[in-house]
Symmetry: C2
């Protein structure tokens, strides 16, 4: 047992929550001019890197349920930003792909988010950024593995 009481001033969990909240707020503000929220952007970004993902795969990649991703996809599809076949010759998973409009909007959104991320990391050296990334991945792995 390391400790059985939380001290907010030194709690990594509290700092993590605070940082994530601040990042979300900044991303929301940066994406608002493009009429995108963070969930919609996350969906587009992942899809840009890995075209053809199904709803369930997208949901796992963006840390939401597939039900939530379903409604997000419907909205983006209605706006013509992505396309999905009504059926596939084999299997049940429906591969999703960005349309040209979706790709164009993603380019602008990705640039806006990159600015936010650069702003967030402006006081950290390149080495510190790599280290921070590694520490966060280690924390995530430790939590997921139980």
């Amino acid at each position: 047992m390391t400790q059985d009481r939380i001290d907010l001033d030194v709690s990594v969990g509290y700092a993590l929550k605070h940082a994530a909240a601040a990042l979300r707020t900044s991303m929301d503000a940066a994406l608002r001019p493009l009429d995108l929220n963070v969930s919609q952007y996350s969906c587009l970004e992942v899809l840009g890197h890995r075209p053809g993902l199904s709803v369930a795969e997208l949901a796992r990649a963006t840390f939401v349920t597939r039900q939530s991703m379903h409604t997000v996809l419907q909205g983006l599809q209605d706006r013509g930003l992505l396309s999905r076949p009504a059926s596939v010759p084999s299997g049940r998973a429906l591969p999703t792909r960005l349309t040209p409009d979706g790709t164009h909007l993603l380019t602008r959104a990705s640039a806006a988010v990159a600015e936010v991320e650069a702003s967030m990391l402006r006081d950290l050296s390149a080495a510190a950024r790599v280290r921070l990334h590694g520490d966060l991945v280690a924390c995530t792995s430790a939590l997921v593995e139980g």
Copy 2:
């Protein structure tokens, strides 16, 4: 300009979001036996450290709107975990305090969350934990300041 495109494999923002999502999931699971969600626990924890805070102050401390905190407080008050005067001699802010029941539940909840945090940090040295905390605070400051 550091970069104008996001690479998810090395994105600190993505790793931060992932870690925060995993932490929230683990905390939810740890708090469920106590019939508390993360928002309710956060409220109790902050109140344990800083008794007498108002709704607006609690909201800022837990990174939600004061409207959201208002409903959280109502639920906790209905369960007899905290008390709030109907009015105060001066000013508008109503100071909130934990009841004995609230203090007792917080003790158990805090221990459960401390276990989750210890699990999250199990692969990091004491020095690395301090460093990670500092880096997260730096990121938050950079985002808030713009």
